[in-house]
Symmetry: C2
Subunit: 113 residues, 2 copies
Amino acid sequence: MKKTRALLPLGEFEMLVLLAILQAGDGAYGSAILEQVHQRGGRSVARGALYVTLERLDAKGYVASRTEAGPPVRGGRPRRYYTVRPTGLALLRRSLEALGRMREGLELGLKHS
Amino acid sequence: MKKTRALLPLGEFEMLVLLAILQAGDGAYGSAILEQVHQRGGRSVARGALYVTLERLDAKGYVASRTEAGPPVRGGRPRRYYTVRPTGLALLRRSLEALGRMREGLELGLKHS
DNA sequence: TCTCAATGCATACATTGTTGGCATGAAGAA
DNA sequence: TTCTTCATGCCAACAATGTATGCATTGAGA
């Protein structure tokens, strides 16, 4: 984490990234997160886009990261793993709940939740 | 509608506004929409923020608007009513579905949908 | 050695998000 | 009638988020 900025609502992509980190669980490093966004989010973004967002989420204290030695296949070279911090999780919940309330009673015929 | 720009993913606030219009139904004019965002979205934004967003959604063809005579209490002065167009609805669905898939399997303990 | 693949990060620019204040016109008070 | 107050809508400006390209590093394997 770099500094502690405002407590503004999460952007759309920020939500996706936060959720992707949660989905990736322990192995949440760049490519894995990107993969989640691609698969579930059904959207392909450039790696750079992800890293910039991760950096910003980090700066706001919503995620934490540790640089750990990678798997042997990778020659043990380090990777940067991310985790969602309580603040980030809380904010994510708030955003999702707002959307949920916003949707209440509407018949949108979504294919998923 | 002004012009037809890109087909990028909807921003967070844009989703809220689109949903708010749907919630407001027939009476979807500025203040009514704002009220929905405030109540359900649990967030207070300046009127200007809403109008700018509506304008942009309009420019992208996601919403349509008609200026109609307002109620007698208002001396019949006109109001601008908005409706969500098919394109906007489709995009909204896509965004919500992506979030839905992104959430699948996660135990977030949300208070609502 | 040389090349390739996997990562992460920096740069730059486009799009969104947000606020504050201006303007108009009817209603109601003075 | 004149003044003040709402209710609306909109514009200018600026902050934050979204996104693509491309550079740099470092083992693996040819």
